[in-house]
């Protein structure tokens, strides 16, 4: 691997994703991407006694699911890379105690999934690992009570506030052939443009996302049109619009191929304010929606960003603004299909679509 410019790493032998899985809550399963997710938990408690335990169970399940899909045992994995939003990243730490594998705990708030994939890819391309699982999770109730007020407390949410996704996502990166390759990673700087409202994460994170996109394009000498999709983790509607405008001011037009996982995961009737947020948001959308789409060629090259707000519940009470970060990875189609990516029904649908297009193409050429 080699460093491009100031912030980007290009991999010599791009690590490939051989498996991915997601577990989501009920609300997420009722959203527009509901059919893509592998598992849905029964309710917020997920058959556990507390919300925190529910999140740990989800995390454990999603890692097991990713392993089962490609018939791998826990011992076949070299490292676990994970983090989450709970204090001291307990959901990940506690889930990792069930896996006899070295574990690196990471914290990048909601950018953790992308951070884990970037670090994992460096470990694989650096030759110290063959297979790495990166995973992360978030849980609406557990996060809400830690960062904000008790769940049943009746304060009115402003329409720009986002809804923490209940979900856990995992991907297995490997030096073997998989369905999607991770060709570059751009690590973000901490950016703070003085936003102080902890209910307005989208506005706080947008400058970090814009900064990482600009630096990635500069380092890699590419333009936005080199990507079929540039997708951010959890900016929500407000942050998405702000990012587009911040980029436009710098002469970078992304209006045609830009989206946000937080905007995609819920529909407008679900009363979620500006959209989804949380570690799980980018993790489940990437693991179950994006990766299959890339593997089946609906997108050939995607720039995926995770965006994180690096505050804690004390800092804003002390009058501090919210520092934010965004990491990016480039995901590309390998042309190879693996059973590990996507649910069987999703795979069938996507494969049929491709067959249909192929047949149309043929008939056109014959005509």
């Amino acid at each position: 691997m080699k460093k491009l410019g100031k912030q980007t790493v290009q991999f010599d032998n791009p690590p490939q994703i051989i498996s991915s899985a997601s577990v989501v809550g009920n609300k997420e399963s009722q959203g527009p991407l509901g059919d893509y997710f592998d598992q849905v938990i029964s309710d917020g408690y997920n058959n556990q006694s507390t919300w925190e335990k529910a999140q740990m169970k989800m995390t454990e399940d999603v890692v097991n699911n990713a392993l089962d899909k490609v018939n791998l045992a826990k011992e076949d994995i070299d490292f676990l890379l994970a983090g989450d939003l709970l204090n001291q990243i307990v959901a990940s730490n506690f889930a990792a105690r069930k896996f006899p594998v070295p574990f690196l705990g990471l914290f990048g708030a909601c950018s953790t999934m992308i951070e884990a994939m970037a670090v994992g890819s460096m470990m694989i391309d650096g030759g110290i690992a063959n297979r790495i699982i990166s995973f992360t999770s978030s849980h609406y109730q557990a996060t809400e009570r830690q960062y904000r007020t008790p769940n049943e407390y009746g304060d009115k949410y402003p329409p720009y506030k986002q809804w923490t996704v209940t979900g856990a996502g995992a991907t297995i990166l490997s030096n073997e052939t998989g369905g999607v390759a991770l060709t570059m990673a751009t690590l973000g700087k901490v950016i703070d443009l003085g936003v102080k409202d902890p209910k307005d994460m989208g506005s706080a994170m947008a400058p970090a996302a814009a900064d990482t996109i600009l630096n990635h394009l500069e380092d890699s000498d590419r333009s936005p049109s080199d990507y079929d999709l540039i997708i951010t983790g959890d900016l929500g509607q407000v942050g998405k619009n702000l990012t587009i405008e911040l980029l436009a001011e710098q002469g970078c037009d992304v209006t045609k191929n830009f989206d946000d996982c937080g905007v995609m995961i819920y529909n407008s009737k679900q009363k979620v304010g500006a959209g989804g947020s949380g570690c799980g948001c980018s993790a489940v959308v990437a693991a179950s929606y994006l990766l299959p789409q890339i593997m089946y060629g609906n997108f050939n090259r995607v720039l995926l960003l995770g965006t994180g707000a690096l505050l804690n519940p004390m800092t804003f009470l002390q009058g501090e603004s919210i520092p934010c970060i965004a990491h990016a990875v480039v995901l590309e189609r390998t042309g190879h299909l693996t059973e590990g990516i996507g649910r069987p029904s999703v795979q069938d649908n996507l494969a049929t679509k491709i067959e249909a297009t192929k047949i149309e193409d043929l008939s056109q050429s014959e005509g």
């Binding site: 049943e152 329409p159 600009l214 911040l246 304010g273």
Partner: protein
């Protein structure tokens, strides 16, 4: 490609342009409507109690207790915060809002045990109201004593 070099003030202007906002007029009227309905309910309880022969002062206390019970019950059923999304201050200001502020942390702090969880956190939302309520009562008492 450039870099993001806005000042916080310039960025705040940009945020104002994109931030979704609620209509203040709508908020005002929905708070007035729901807050008013809660007060009306209190008045109905008082009038019903008086008509059964309970003295006026006692009826007022019973109505307060009833509203606290209703606020706590609706919080426990998970309904109160849903109503609050429509009502805003209309559900925070009446005494049902105070019940909600006590019951909501109690429900979820139970996960950490009855003493150090529920016991320690039950006033985490209502604490400031109690603290400064008692402080102002003390100051007004002092004021009265001195005059």
């Amino acid at each position: 490609m450039g870099t993001i070099d806005k000042t916080p003030q310039e960025y705040q202007k940009l945020i104002k342009k994109h931030q979704l906002t609620d209509s203040k007029v709508k908020n005002f009227f929905s708070a007035y409507l729901i807050g008013g309905l809660i007060c009306l309910l209190g008045q109905v309880i008082i009038n019903v109690l008086i008509s059964t022969g309970i003295p006026k002062d006692n009826a007022g206390s019973y109505a307060t207790i009833s509203l606290i019970f209703i606020g706590g019950l609706l919080t426990g059923l998970g309904v109160y915060d849903e109503i609050a999304q429509f009502a805003g201050a209309g559900t925070i200001v009446p005494i049902t809002g105070f019940a909600n502020a006590i019951v909501s942390p109690a429900i979820e702090s139970r996960q950490e045990g009855y003493i150090l969880g529920l016991g320690a956190n039950i006033y985490s939302i209502a604490g400031p109201v109690l603290t400064y309520g008692m402080l102002s009562a003390f100051l007004i008492g002092l004021f009265k004593l001195l005059l």
